[in-house]
């Protein structure tokens, strides 16, 4: 299936991902993160030992936002957020990572609303495991932005397609 044209460019989406992610990390964790080069053609992603958080969009545009990182970085982020120490991924880490995704993707949604119209968010889903793959339902590309935090890499991704109502007009 061919990719659908979204009314903002991948670079604009990447810029919004960059500012919202930096803001959430600085405000909630006191950490500076820096965005790397955007990948606008990300499709199948192999995940191994990673924590992946997914938040769905509904409204005039459907799709999802995702953040993914190593178990080590998930423990570091959760420790700073909750002022605790975590040596392994547990329920508190998964919940903290879900909330980080909720804040990053939620702020993205509001910043992108000028171009995309009103969107609503679903409840975050958090996955942790080895040797699994993530892809979008119809093969639609992600717009993926890598970040560096505490010497580890994490990724924030967005995928948007028109909703059936919008596509039917």
């Amino acid at each position: 299936m061919s990719n659908v044209q979204v009314p903002i460019t991948p670079e604009e989406i990447a810029a919004i991902i960059g500012t919202t992610t930096e803001n959430v990390f600085a405000t909630m964790l006191g950490l500076e993160v820096q965005a790397g080069p955007v990948d606008a053609q990300s499709k199948l992603t192999q995940e191994d030992g990673k924590v992946v958080c997914l938040v769905s969009f509904t409204g005039q545009w459907n799709g999802s936002g995702s953040i993914s990182c190593s178990a080590l970085l998930a423990c570091t982020i959760s420790g700073k957020l909750l002022m605790s120490e975590y040596e392994a991924v547990n329920d508190e880490v998964l919940d903290a990572m879900g909330e980080m995704a909720n804040m990053i993707i939620g702020n993205f949604k509001d910043e992108a609303a000028a171009a995309l119209g009103a969107l609503s968010l679903g409840t975050p889903t958090v996955i942790y495991g080895n040797n699994f793959q993530t892809r979008n339902w119809n093969g639609q590309s992600w717009i993926a932005v890598p970040f560096c935090c505490e010497g580890e890499r994490f990724e924030v991704k967005i995928c948007l397609v028109p909703s059936q109502d919008k596509a039917g007009r």
């Binding site: 909630m28 909750l82 329920d91 879900g98 909330e99 909720n102 804040m103 939620g106 702020n107 409840t123």
Partner: protein, 126 residues
Amino acid sequence: MALDVLIVDDSAAIRKILHRVLAQTDIALGDVLEAGDGVEALAVLEKRKIGLVLSDINMPNMDGLQFLTSVRARPEWNNVPVIMITTEGSQEKVMDAVQRGAQGYVRKPFTAEQIKEKISSCLGAQ
């Protein structure tokens, strides 16, 4: 007199953070109670006299705006200060919450200072 506070959020992480922020305030804090959605929060209000509510908007079962409407519909709860703490930052959502009777609105991500200032201003205005 100590103030009992109710935190309403489906995220245990946010409830833990707000618990910590409340402990840093200079208000005379009583019990800090928690609820995971609006339905649980209404059940807490039925049983306890709550002096301040901090509530998310996007939650399962009953969201924060429906919860706020239910609170304001009850005369005995009409004066309980409710502060919304949410990722929802659109002007429409803010206006909706204010019209339904929210005394304060804080967008996530937030700093501890922002929460403390909002609580202070809400309680001071009473």
